[in-house]
Symmetry: C2
Subunit: 327 residues, 2 copies
């Protein structure tokens, strides 16, 4: 039997009871696999790695070592939430690394989208590797692989291993407790594990984080503007009851300026672009018809609260020919 | 009496009868001022210079020489309309100069907004001056000065003479038949003179034309995309009955690209920005809440019909802190 093949008779996990049964089963399997040895996990704060962390904390407690690398491209409050939930509430063995300066220094002046992704991905592996080498007696590497990742890898579309670029001498046995689950099942399991709704229902977020939404060469001031604008957008969508109704929504701050007026003087500032999309399969996407009152409220808050911004735009483009992200 | 001061008892021209009376009065005054001599006019296609041209054609016929300089930054069909209306219909003495290459060559690589404006304004004067020197026995220069221009000049805000940079040896006496009129009165007079509604009700259009809406360094391909997108926007606003209801609407194509997908492949194309504003005094402006069906139709047409474009955005920004134009 192929252990990477979801059994045809496996029921879709939709209820709390099914989730509890899955959790109990996995706890037993994890204890059997790991014994008294140690497991390392790169905890990004995304749904998948968070659920794997919570499962492992239940199964093996302090034998799990979580490493959270803050690459400086997280959304507002995300790294803080990882610490609050895993270190403070779940008492996890969590190593928090603020690598903001390291990433942003490496990214300075890099404007090509592919080059940016390579810098971020490569640096992530180096930071994680350095931490892994400091730790003793780690035999396992836990990963938040889910079933769509396996299906896509089989198709050769893309390699989905979160930290798949580690050097050969760092040889770990893999622990992938949710690898046969679909995303919606992972969320049900996460809720049953007691993770906060804001973490369990988190929107898809690209690995390079805000890095691909601070388009062109990233600067600290523009990244700060992006983070604030994005937080305002998420807060107002939440208040309007759109969280979970609109599939994905975020802001983009391009490396481009236009004229404005403030305090009687001329300014030359950035625009903030609001991107919101609905999709069934992420292959195509449509743009929701938002309430004008909401759009105007978000616009005014961004213009009032975010330094360096003089315009707000709504991206009307379906996918295709546009992509969901801007780079 | 100050001839640049509107008499306090002068009634606002709002009716056809008032317009006819004004026209008759001006025809007499113009014939008296000009006699059998010749008048030169830079005919941009804007409301003011078009109304002055039509007035002068009525008054002095072939003694008026109109020069239309197409700087390559006109909207789609505008120069063609100038020729159709003034040469073909009104039988004006019209010199049409296609200076597209001359302007675009000078503008190549010029990205600073102020530098662009200077190139366009300076080149316009040089082209016009060259034509003026070829003509013999011209004593007068007609200009579409209107009353707000005079008020603003008095305040020292800006010099509004259309071709105010001509060299001293080209000394003309000025002919300014609508200098005491407000814009709405000029439109009423234009309609009474038989000018087409699309010309008389033309939206305000900056002197540098599409040049300030093809932001950054102008290229021919991006300028072509801008012109097509702008024509689609105007056509759909007209069809939706918004012409005359929304104060100003146009498109901007910035010198910036984002990713898209076409025919299974990756593209890196421009966004088209839809800018629409309502204003009472142009000092502040609000953004109209357009029908989503209209926005989506315009978006789809632009994405389908305009090469090099993969996104369409709606500018939600009020003035201030945004300006109406992008540079």
């Amino acid at each position: 039997m192929d252990e990477n093949k979801r059994p045809e008779n496996m029921a879709r996990i939709t209820t709390r009871e099914q989730a509890e049964a899955f959790i109990a089963e996995q706890i037993e399997a994890l204890r059997k696999q790991v014994g008294s040895r140690k497991v390392l996990l790169a905890l990004s704060g995304g749904v998948d790695s968070s659920v794997v962390a919570a499962l492992l904390i239940r199964a093996i407690g302090q034998q799990l070592v979580c490493v959270h690398v803050n690459h400086g491209l997280m959304r507002k409050g995300e790294s803080e939430q990882v610490v609050a939930v895993f270190r403070d509430q779940l008492k996890a063995n969590l190593i928090y690394i603020d690598a903001t300066d390291r990433f942003l220094d490496k990214l300075a002046g890099v404007s090509d989208p592919e080059a940016k992704r390579k810098v971020i991905g490569g640096e992530f592996i180096r930071v994680f590797e350095e931490e892994a080498r400091k730790l003793k007696d780690i035999d396992f590497l836990a990963q938040g692989t889910i079933y769509p990742d396996i299906i896509e890898s089989d198709k050769g579309v893309k390699a989905h291993h979160n930290v798949g670029g580690l050097p050969d001498d760092l040889h770990f046995e893999l622990v992938e407790p949710v690898k046969l689950l679909f995303k919606d099942e992972v969320r049900v399991v996460g809720a049953a594990l007691g993770l906060p709704a804001s973490m369990v229902n988190r929107q898809p977020f690209p690995g390079p984080g805000l890095g691909v939404r601070c388009t062109g060469a990233i600067t600290r001031d523009r990244l700060a503007a992006l983070r604030e604008a994005d937080a305002i957008l998420r807060e107002e969508f939440d208040r309007a009851g759109l969280a979970g109704k609109v599939w994905q929504y975020f802001t983009v701050v391009p490396d481009y300026r236009s004229t404005g007026v403030r305090g009687g003087g001329r300014v030359f500032d950035w625009p903030v672009i609001i991107r919101a999309v609905n999709t069934v399969d992420a292959m195509s996407a449509t743009v929701p018809e938002l309430d004008w009152a909401l759009l105007k409220k978000i616009t005014q808050r961004i213009l009032d609260e975010v330094p360096g911004v003089c315009r707000v735009l709504y991206d009307l483009s379906p996918k295709g020919p546009a992509t969901i992200e801007w780079e």
